[in-house]
């Protein structure tokens, strides 16, 4: 008799009986939507308004470990794609999900992931309308990879509705919605060989409420982004690359949790380069800075929102950091892999 917990086999991916069972018992149960229930090869979607502008994005998610404090790959794969739509100033509507599962992956773990995806989709008010599953041989994947694609429509006031992309202007304010590096350190703390004890949780969250709040008070948002891989430093460099303006960032204005600060000291990381999964950074005209901060602070995940930098014509195309000591230095994009130092 086999006492091992049920796990995914290659037969679950061969399109036969087990595949159908997996789809109906695991995926349909959790994601239940009229489009999925059709069990067709593609989802047929209802028409949109004649003025609606569609936004479409895709993101693949690989994370080690799959379950981390404050989230898991499921929650991340939904929030990540919804956030990519949100920062365009779009209301998310539909998601597709694609799973690549390594042979031997526990069915119970898959169910956990799928149910947190369903929960996240519900929270975001989106329907999962189509999906795909593949199983690969043991060793060909690291447990589970998830791809999600998302469709949304631009909201009124989105910077992307304007005919000309808005340019940054001297003295514009750079606003950050909260503390940096929570996701990067929470995930890193659970890696094999690191495993330090911390109560820190990943900030993995949907930032659409933040975007909505900002759009409601500021009709002239220049640009919005979620500073994920590469961190805030990389995002700000993307803002100014090739522009006539630069950004001065104030180190002492940046919210940091003490656990993140401590871990960075210990591991030799810079929080400005760590990944975030539930933060919004945006540039607005100075006159709107206070109103936007106050609007963000009313959201649960934006309480620490604050102005962290200013656009300046002094350093075109560059980001400079005003350190907490008052000195200034270049803040570059992340280069290479962040590698821990020897001593």
């Amino acid at each position: 008799m086999n006492n091992n917990p049920p796990s995914i086999t290659l037969a679950h991916g061969n399109g036969g009986k087990l595949t159908h069972e997996l789809i109906s018992k695991v995926f349909l149960d959790a994601f239940d939507s009229p489009e999925l229930r059709m069990k067709a090869d593609s989802a047929v979607l209802p028409p949109l308004g004649p003025q609606d502008r569609l936004v479409f994005t895709t993101d693949s998610h690989v994370v080690t470990p799959l379950f981390f404090p404050g989230g898991d790959i499921g929650k991340l794969s939904v929030a990540g794609t919804l956030n990519d739509l949100a920062v365009m100033g779009a209301r998310p509507l539909y998601l597709s999900v694609g799973f690549i599962i390594e042979e031997g992956f526990l069915v119970s773990d898959l169910k956990r992931v799928v149910s947190s995806m369903a929960l996240a989709a519900k929270e975001g008010g989106v329907r999962i309308v189509t999906g795909d599953t593949k199983v690969v041989e043991k060793g060909a994947a690291d447990g589970l990879f998830i791809n999600t694609s998302g469709i949304g429509v631009l909201l009124e006031g989105s910077p992307n509705l304007r005919t000309k992309a808005p340019a940054l202007e001297d003295t514009d304010a750079v606003i950050l919605s909260g503390s940096l590096g929570d996701h990067g350190i929470a995930v890193y703390s659970k890696r094999k060989g690191i495993d330090f004890k911390t109560d820190l949780q990943s900030d993995c969250a949907q930032i659409f409420p933040l975007v909505q709040a900002a759009l409601a008070v500021c009709p002239e948002i220049r640009i919005m982004r979620d500073p994920t891989r590469g961190g805030l430093a990389t995002t700000l460099n993307e803002f100014v690359a090739g522009q006539a303006m630069g950004i001065e960032l104030f180190e002492n204005k940046i919210p940091l949790k003490k656990e993140v600060k401590g871990a960075c000291e210990l591991l030799g990381f810079d929080p400005l380069y760590l990944a975030n999964e539930g933060k919004l950074v945006l540039v607005v005209p100075k006159a709107y800075a206070n109103a936007v901060c106050e609007a963000l602070q009313k959201c649960a995940i934006g309480r620490e929102a604050t102005v962290v930098g200013l656009v300046t014509k002094e350093v075109p195309g560059k980001v400079i950091l005003r350190t907490s000591l008052g000195s200034r230095r270049i803040l570059d994009m992340l280069t290479g892999e962040m590698l821990p130092r020897i001593c």
Partner: protein, 379 residues
């Protein structure tokens, strides 16, 4: 955060910066102060906190050779890659040596991508655990670094011996600080040519925690150069620079300890004993940039030779010259600034390093590229 925030206080930094300016402008006739921070950790801190931006123009910081990956010659790195590529080997290493370019544009990172089993650890003790968990594999630890990391390697060597591990060995590349400083001060560039001016030294922090401040007394006496041992925080460094300027203004040349919260004159005796038990000095060791220095590198004591990877695998380490256009050698010695190298920021970047100095954030080029001071960055 305790022991961190106090040493990054901007008001104190401002005050120190003003006092440094006053002291550096008080000499008659006016003079320059060429100060070398030996240790890569100090180079990193100088740039990370933009400290050079707080110093007057007549204080010139010269970046020294104290970055472990920068001084490791290509031949020894080729040896590491050769070991790592053996099918029976799990090669265990610290992180920032992974990207250092070896011969034929190879690196440990590339070797790993090609299938070598290379694992990155924070603590060398993890290498022992990996050996115990993988009895059918040969686990080799890539031991590298100055006196800071040597005691930890000594402890795992003793532990491997105690546990009688049969599948564990160490590829030893540890070097010691004092001969590197002597070689700079004895070099023709300093002695005769005047190409390199070194008025004083910021002494290493963690190295001194192990060896104590005493070994530096010989330098200050013999070469008449002041040494101030400094911590890694911005206020530590600013205070150490002020202490050096004051010594030079007063024509003094002695060892002073700014980092009293960690460093004593005698150092960590237990760590020194472990190192003495585990290692002996090699007659010579080849450094990148500094050449062959007598009694500057360590090898595993004969009684632990069963754990010496070079013996176990019959490794022949060859001497390999540095790439021709690469100025790493001059940069390691402080003769040239990173942007004086033709490759800097153009061909040689942290994503595509040609020389070792670009790899680690402690290397002068890496620090310049990432954090370039506003006035000196060209790219």
């Amino acid at each position: 955060m305790k022991y961190i925030d106090e040493f990054r206080d901007h008001k104190v930094a401002r005050a120190l910066s003003l006092r440094i300016k006053e002291a550096a402008n008080s000499a008659h006739p006016p003079r320059e102060y060429h100060l070398m921070e030996f240790c890569g950790g100090h180079t990193y801190a100088l740039f990370r906190y933009g400290l050079t931006d707080l110093l007057p123009a007549n204080i010139k910081m010269v970046h020294g050779p104290g970055c472990p990956v920068c001084v490791l010659p290509i031949g020894r790195l080729d040896g590491a890659i050769e070991l790592a590529k053996r099918p029976e080997v799990i090669f265990v290493t610290y992180g920032d040596v992974m990207r250092v370019p070896a011969s034929d544009r190879q690196s440990l990172l590339k070797a790993r991508a090609e299938g070598a089993d290379i694992r990155m650890v924070y603590s060398c003790a993890d290498a022992l655990t990996i050996a115990q968990e993988n009895p059918s594999k040969e686990v080799v630890f890539f031991a590298i670094g100055f006196e800071t990391t040597t005691p930890a390697t000594a402890v795992i060597l003793q532990e491997a011996h105690r546990l009688a591990l049969k599948n564990f060995s160490i590829y030893c590349n540890h070097v010691i600080t004092p001969p590197a400083i002597s070689s700079l001060l004895e070099s023709p560039e300093v002695q005769n040519l005047g190409a390199l001016r070194l008025d004083g030294f910021i002494g290493p922090a963690h190295v001194s925690a192990v060896i104590g401040s005493k070994p530096f007394e010989a330098f200050s006496n013999h070469y008449k150069r002041p040494v101030v041992i400094s911590g890694f925080e911005p206020l530590d460094l600013l205070q150490a620079i002020l202490m050096l300027v004051n010594q030079l203004n007063e024509n003094r040349a002695c060892v002073e300890n700014q980092y009293t919260r960690v460093v004593t004159r005698e150092g960590n005796i237990r760590a020194q004993q472990s190192v003495a038990d585990a290692f002996e000095l090699k007659p010579t060791f080849l450094w990148r940039g500094l050449g062959k220095l007598p009694y500057s590198g360590l090898k595993i004591q004969e009684k632990y030779s069963a754990f010496d990877a070079e013996i176990r695998f019959g490794l022949n380490v060859h001497e390999v010259p540095d790439p021709k256009a690469c100025e790493c050698a001059s940069i390691v010695k402080g003769l040239k600034k990173p942007h004086e190298c033709k490759l800097f920021g153009k061909v040689c970047t942290p994503d595509n390093p040609i020389g070792a100095c670009m790899v680690s954030s402690e290397g002068a080029c890496g620090a310049y590229y990432r954090f370039g001071p506003m006035s000196e960055r060209r790219v």
